[in-house]
Each structure stands twice: as structure tokens, then as C-alpha cells.
């Protein structure tokens, strides 16, 4: 029997995407829910079931044998937190993924739910001391608007970790320099946690990985979906994205989370959802190039020839820096190439030079420079929590 299924998260539940699946395995809805929130979706059968995508990457299937159309999910309905190894050794490539997943679990377990990812709790349990160099000899530094960011004790041995940042006006830049060349990563100014580590696999390849958690966990989740091309799940977060955008009316809000929401609407051509607030992003946060890129693309999609000078001005102003998100970098270069003037192409080429050898699967603008021809190091950049799977 078809009907409207209401799904609610009780107090204490983490933010998570819920897929509603019919008995013959059609995904009939995707809902982004948090504690004390409920949403409804039309289902073809009351025997439809739920798949909850937990922050640690696990997917939990929940069925209701009674087929009730009102379901409340409580923390007790979920399995206990995933077991995490604090000392996992790396032999195969997949071990590095598992290591990052362990690390995300350890960080979440060791810190109180409402605290920022600070260092106090870790220092109190006698964690290793901060370091500035990875095992492969790569040095790591993080530059914020206010200057270099202090290193803090790692969660796992062998990582270089930085204290949280809280800069709303501009991004941070993470700089790594070592045998694989220089890796430069643009990051949001608000970071709950950021670290780098290097691991050598059995065939001698060094994997240097960077993981970052921005100021907003749903934004990280959406960014991970967008980067992986998983637009069905990304679209499931559209309501959250609207909320993030509305919050930028408040100057104390997180502009970086709003940018991620805007990239979703631009990617899916839902231009009606890109309201005036995109212009506000460009104007109120002039040192964040992504706002200008988004505003320019909003105008490009509108196709009004009278706005060409405005579009050009926005894109050239953005090209004076580097967008924080890789999506922004791609759109910026595409926009300049579409304008097609000599100065536009020059600006696009200069941007390419400055951005370096791009990491195509990174959520943030990340480029390798001065890479030695014989280097075997592999670089990977992702959000904390993106390492799911087996």
C-alpha cells in the first residue's frame, strides 16, 4: 500500500543522509536529517525500508516489520561505533583508506560532541608531540590570514596536524614541500581539523594525504558527494544547502558552507535557487574568489549580453587569486575560456600556471608544483570522513 512515510531523527542522532528504498530496491527518496528533525516522502509500499549513511561511512539498513508509516530513529537503533585501530600498519593502498577512516572515528570518539576539534582532550591522554615533517621528509605548514597556524599533537602517529582556525574573511593555504615536489592546497578559513600524513606501501610508493574538516560537517558531506560525482545523494541535501545560504545574511555565518551549497545548485542548473545571496557572497567576502566565480556563472547562465563586462570583471578579479574549491577553479577557467578574448585566455593560462598540476579528485583547489621527473610520491586530498568503503 502506498502512502507518505515520515522519517524522524530523535535527540542524539547525528546528521545523516537517509535513503528510502522500496521493497523492490528502487530508491524513492533521499532525506538529509539531523537530531529532532523529520521529513516525509511518498512511498509505493509501507514495507519500504531505510538506509542511513552514518558519518563514519557505514550504511545501516533499518526495516520495520510492522510497516508503520511514521518511523523515528534513535541512537539505540544504530550499531555501536565502528572499531578503530590507533596503530594500523600500511602495506596495501587500501590500508591508507582504512587508516583515515580509523582516524576519523578516533577523533570523533575522543572529543566531546559540542566541542571544537581542539587539542585539550588529546593532550590530556598523553598523545605524541606535534611535528612539522612527515615520515617521507615532506614539510607541512598552514598559513591563515592571521599568520602561520600552530601545530598540535596528532591523533595518530606520523601525522602533522594543526589547531582549528576561525577565519571568515578569507581562506587558508596548506603548503607541503618534499621529495614529490610542492603541493599547495587552498582551504576554507574555518577549519575544525586539518592534517597531513605520508605512508609507504609495499611497492615503495609514498602516499602523501591531506584531510580537512571545514567548519560545517554537512558542507563536508555535500562537498564529498559533489567531488565524487554522486549527485543523487548531493541533491538529497538540497534543503540543507538552502538553509546554509539563508544563513549568509548573518555576517557571522559560515560563507564557505554557503559556497558549497551554491556549487550544488549551479552544477544541477537549479538557477532559481541561486538568489541575490550569491551576489552578497561576492560583495561581502571579496577575498574569497569563489563568490565572484559563482556570481559570474549565475550571469552567464542568464545569458544577458549586456552583462558581459560585469562577468569579465568578476572573473578577472577572481583570477587574481585561487578559488578555494576545485569546482570554482574549473568554473573560473571555463568562464575565462568562454569569454574568449585575448586577455581572458591570458588570464586563464596564468591561472593554470599558478594552480600547478591539478589533483582532479580533490574537493579543494590543490596543485603540485616543481615535481621531479623521477618522483613516485602520490598526493591525495579529501575531506575528513570521505574515506568510506572497504
Amino acid at each position: 500500500m502506498s502512502g507518505k512515510l515520515q522519517v524522524a531523527f530523535a535527540d542524539g542522532m547525528p546528521d545523516a543522509l537517509v535513503e528510502v528504498v522500496s521493497p523492490d530496491y528502487e530508491t524513492v527518496g533521499r532525506l538529509w536529517l539531523g537530531a529532532n528533525r523529520a521529513r516525509s516522502v511518498e512511498v509505493p509500499s509501507e514495507m519500504s525500508f531505510l538506509r542511513v549513511h552514518l558519518p563514519d561511512g557505514r550504511v545501516v539498513t533499518l526495516r520495520d516489520p510492522a510497516g508503520k508509516l511514521k518511523r523515528t530513529i534513535r541512537p539505540g537503533d544504530l550499531p555501536p561505533p565502528a572499531k578503530a585501530s590507533a596503530t594500523r600498519s600500511v602495506e596495501r593502498v587500501g590500508d591508507v583508506t582504512a587508516l583515515h577512516r580509523d582516524r576519523a572515528c578516533l577523533a570523533a570518539l575522543e572529543l566531546p560532541r559540542k566541542a571544537t576539534l581542539g587539542v585539550g582532550g588529546l593532550e590530556s591522554i598523553g598523545a605524541p608531540q606535534p611535528t612539522d615533517t612527515l615520515p617521507d621528509g615532506t614539510s607541512v605548514e598552514l598559513a591563515a590570514a592571521t599568520g602561520p597556524v600552530r601545530r598540535v599533537p596528532p591523533v595518530q602517529p606520523g601525522e602533522v596536524r594543526f589547531e582549528p582556525t576561525d577565519g571568515r574573511d578569507r581562506g587558508c593555504e596548506l603548503r607541503l614541500k618534499g621529495p614529490g615536489g610542492r603541493l599547495v592546497v587552498q582551504l576554507p578559513g574555518i577549519l575544525r581539523d586539518v592534517y597531513a600524513r605520508s605512508d609507504r606501501t609495499a611497492d615503495g610508493v609514498w602516499l602523501v594525504s591531506v584531510r580537512a574538516a571545514t567548519g560545517n560537517r554537512p558542507a563536508d558531506q555535500l562537498l564529498t558527494y559533489l567531488t565524487g560525482g554522486d549527485l543523487y545523494r548531493a541533491v538529497g541535501m538540497a534543503d540543507w544547502a538552502v538553509t546554509a545560504e539563508e544563513m549568509v545574511r548573518d555576517k557571522h555565518a559560515d560563507p564557505f558552507a554557503a559556497l558549497v551549497g551554491a556549487y550544488l545548485f549551479l552544477r544541477t542548473h537549479k538557477l532559481g535557487r541561486l538568489g541575490d545571496w550569491v551576489n552578497n557572497l561576492a560583495v561581502q567576502w571579496p577575498a574569497i574568489p569563489d563568490g565572484k566565480v559563482l556570481r559570474a556563472w549565475q550571469l552567464i547562465h542568464e545569458g544577458n549580453q549586456d552583462r558581459e563586462a560585469e562577468i569579465r570583471g568578476l572573473l578577472h578579479a577572481a583570477a587574481a587569486g585561487l578559488p578555494i574549491f576545485r569546482e570554482g577553479l574549473r568554473l573560473l577557467r571555463d568562464g575565462l575560456c568562454l569569454l574568449g578574448g585575448e586577455d581572458d585566455i591570458k588570464a586563464a593560462d596564468a591561472l593554470s600556471d599558478r594552480a600547478g598540476q591539478g589533483l582532479v579528485d580533490a574537493p579543494f583547489t590543490a596543485g603540485v608544483h616543481d615535481r621531479p621527473a623521477d618522483a613516485t610520491t602520490q598526493f591525495r586530498v579529501a575531506c575528513i570522513g570521505a574515506d568510506a568503503g572497504g
Binding site: 593502498v93 549527485l231 543523487y232 545523494r233 547562465h301 574549473r330 598540476q357 582532479v360 623521477d374 568503503g389
Partner: protein, 399 residues
């Protein structure tokens, strides 16, 4: 002439169809071998064979589902091929430069087809023919697949077979500016546009070529105000080095993932019809997990992918059956050695004896499975697993 199917260009329909262009480059004579130029040799690029297998496999997959292609002995094992009643196959254009210089491909119907070389001139001619076919009807689907050497900065460049030819003054002339080509395709009326960039990146080349690579966008004249296609899917592989790119005697790992997804690993139920469907969004969503699966299976560090769908989801393929890639085993190698498996979802019932390779890898239909892991010296693990994601991993150790 590089039309792989149909036999006669005049037979190409202007009704809504999928029109494909496959570019497979393995031979780079001016970069290595007796014809190599001193400047070309500096790039350190080697000829490729995996790209040639890829081009042949993609072309074969596109045509394997044609109703009149009955000679299945020529169809690569396990391929059901492209199936979309709303957008049947319209044409397949192939340009192909293998290291051995042959230019004949065997289609799934057994016919030998001579195709043109993947030189810049050959690619430009093929793009022209393909563009015009795609442009003939806004309901068309345009599909572009490139396999060969490439370089990615913030833009993507793809090397034609005659890259760095000695009689060309600009060494970058015989190179595709893929970003420019993709943007240029905004001029094309086809509302659904699919691009697969299956490019091998070699570290010495990347290091040498970091200074301003350029290339030909081939399709120019686009205006910034031209509206974008309603649905675009751009799917990039980024394999660094030959080992990560593909085996010498088979298709690239990326092509393996793409065809696996299209054959059913990326399928979901279509709303209303209940048919299995792979669309631009679902294909993108599964390429990452399938790439991770292949990395794990082959121990590859340097293989990644970047799927980039845009606009609305658009149907690509209606596979015969959706399925899930499954890996089952123990974390502990000693326990793996005594593991026998039984996988049951009535009426399906598979067993795998303990003598078989572990972890067990296979394809199972989506749904609720009972997985029994039996050991000589431990209690049986009896698991209930709901298989819905494209890749499902069960790694459990008995206590």
C-alpha cells in the same frame, strides 16, 4: 573514413540517436622509436597497447546490443552492450592508432572494419562528422571517448598520435585542448553530452610539460551566452604511470569500470517503468567505488577518477540486469585459508570452496543475501547483508 557502424554514412538516422566517437591512441612515433625526434624523446612517453584494447572494447560494447548483431562469438565475453530504446545507437566513429600500425577492427557481428588513424587530422575529421550527426537532432546523445596519453593542469590536454611531428612548427598543434572541445560542444544541439577522458599521465611528461601546454579545441566559435546542454557527464580517469593505467593485453582499468557500470553495476530502478537504468548521475556515483574496487584488486596506488555530471540526470543505458560487485573474506590470512562460502538469495545459491582464491570476488543481484562463512576450526559466521551499493565488502573474522 572512420565510420565503424553503420556501414554506410548515408544510412545514419536523423531521429533521436546516440552518436559516438572513440579515439584510441597507442602509437606515438615521434616520441619513441626510430622516427622519434630529439625534442619528442625528451618527454619519455612510451607507446600504449591498453588504449587500443580500450578503443576496440568500447566500440564493441556500443554495437554488441544491436538487434541484428547475432554473431555473439565476436562479442567480448560478458558484454550485453548498449541498450536504450528511446535513444538507439545512431553511429560509431572510431579513430585508432595501435603501435603495430593495423587499422582493422572486428565488430561483434564479425565484420572487419577499416578505421582511420588517430592523428590530429584524423581526429579533426572524425570530430567534424560526429559533431554534425549529433547536431542534427536536439534529442541526440553525443558520446566522446578518448584513450591515450594526456596531461591535466587546470585544463585537460590529450595527445594525438602525431604529437610533436617534425614537420609541424608548433609542437602543441597535434594535441586536443579537451576543455576547449567540451566548451565548444555547447554549440551542438544534442541535449545530452557524455565525455570520457581515459588519459594516462606519465610523470616525466608532466614534469617537462608544466609550462603552458596548449592544443586545438577543434570545435570553436562558441559564445559565452550559448546555453549549456541540459545534461552533461564528463568522466575523467587520472592514472599516473602505465601500471595504474591498464594491463598491456586488456582495456584500461577506467574503461573496465565504465563498462562494468554501464553493464549494470551502476544501475538503479527507473521511476515508473521499474527497468534497470544507468543515467548520467548514477554512472558518476559508481565510478569512484568501482575504481576503489579495482585499485584494491590490483594493488594500484596511482589510479583515481573524477566524474562530473551536470544539469539534469539523463538516461544512458538500460542494462539487462543490475548487479553489485561483492568482495567477501576475512581480514586474517590464516582464517581466509579455511574459509568456505555459501551465498543465498532464493532461488540463487552459490558456494565457494575453501580452495578458491580469497577474498571471494563476484557479481550478485541487488537484494537481501544470506552469507555463511564456514571454517574448519571456528564457528560459522551467518550474516544477512542488503546489497544495494555498487560495491559491497564483507570482511569478517571469526572469534
Amino acid at each position: 573514413m572512420s565510420l565503424y557502424w553503420p556501414d554506410d554514412a548515408a544510412a545514419v538516422s536523423t531521429e533521436p540517436r546516440l552518436h559516438a566517437l572513440v579515439v584510441a591512441v597507442g602509437d606515438y612515433p615521434y616520441l619513441s622509436g626510430p622516427k622519434a625526434t630529439p625534442e619528442g624523446k625528451k618527454y619519455g612517453l612510451k607507446p600504449l597497447t591498453t588504449t587500443i584494447h580500450t578503443g576496440a572494447r568500447v566500440a564493441a560494447w556500443l554495437t554488441a546490443g544491436l538487434p541484428d548483431f547475432a554473431r555473439k562469438e565476436f562479442t567480448p565475453a560478458g558484454l550485453n552492450g548498449y541498450r536504450n530504446a528511446g535513444r538507439p545507437l545512431g553511429s560509431v566513429e572510431v579513430v585508432y592508432s595501435p603501435p603495430d600500425g593495423t587499422s582493422v577492427l572486428t565488430r561483434p557481428d564479425g565484420k572487419q572494419v577499416a578505421v582511420g588513424p588517430a592523428t590530429m587530422a584524423g581526429i579533426e575529421a572524425a570530430v567534424g562528422a560526429w559533431f554534425n550527426r549529433c547536431n542534427a537532432n536536439p534529442e541526440n546523445v553525443a558520446l566522446f571517448y578518448f584513450a591515450g596519453h594526456g596531461i591535466s593542469t587546470t585544463a585537460q590536454f590529450l595527445l594525438a598520435s602525431d604529437f610533436h611531428a617534425p614537420d609541424v612548427l608548433d609542437p602543441w598543434k597535434n594535441c586536443i585542448d579537451f576543455t576547449g572541445l567540451r566548451l565548444g560542444m555547447r554549440r551542438c544541439k544534442a541535449k545530452t553530452q557524455l565525455f570520457f577522458v581515459d588519459a594516462c599521465r606519465e610523470r616525466p611528461f608532466d614534469a617537462t610539460a608544466q609550462v603552458n601546454p596548449t592544443g586545438q579545441s577543434i570545435v570553436g566559435g562558441v559564445k559565452w551566452s550559448d546555453p549549456p546542454p541540459a545534461a552533461t557527464g564528463t568522466y575523467y580517469a587520472a592514472a599516473e604511470g602505465l601500471k595504474a593505467y591498464g594491463p598491456a593485453d586488456g582495456p584500461t582499468y577506467f574503461a573496465t569500470a565504465v563498462l562494468d557500470a554501464l553493464e549494470g553495476a551502476g544501475a538503479g530502478r527507473e521511476k515508473g517503468t521499474r527497468k534497470w537504468l544507468v543515467d548520467t548521475f548514477s554512472l558518476a556515483g559508481v565510478l569512484g567505488p568501482l575504481t576503489e574496487y579495482l585499485k584494491d584488486e590490483h594493488g594500484l596506488a596511482a589510479l583515481t577518477c573524477s566524474p562530473h555530471p551536470e544539469g539534469d540526470p539523463a538516461p544512458i543505458n538500460y542494462p539487462v540486469q543490475g548487479y553489485v560487485r561483492v568482495k567477501v573474506g576475512c581480514k586474517d590470512a590464516a582464517k581466509n585459508s579455511q574459509l568456505a562460502l555459501q551465498l543465498t538469495r532464493p532461488p540463487d545459491d552459490f558456494t565457494s570452496a575453501k580452495t578458491e582464491a580469497r577474498p571471494w570476488r563476484g557479481k550478485l543481484a541487488p537484494g537481501d543475501w544470506r552469507i555463511q562463512m564456514k571454517f574448519d576450526t571456528f564457528d560459522t559466521l551467518d550474516l544477512s547483508e542488503t546489497l544495494l551499493d555498487p560495491v559491497h565488502v564483507v570482511l569478517e573474522d571469526p572469534v
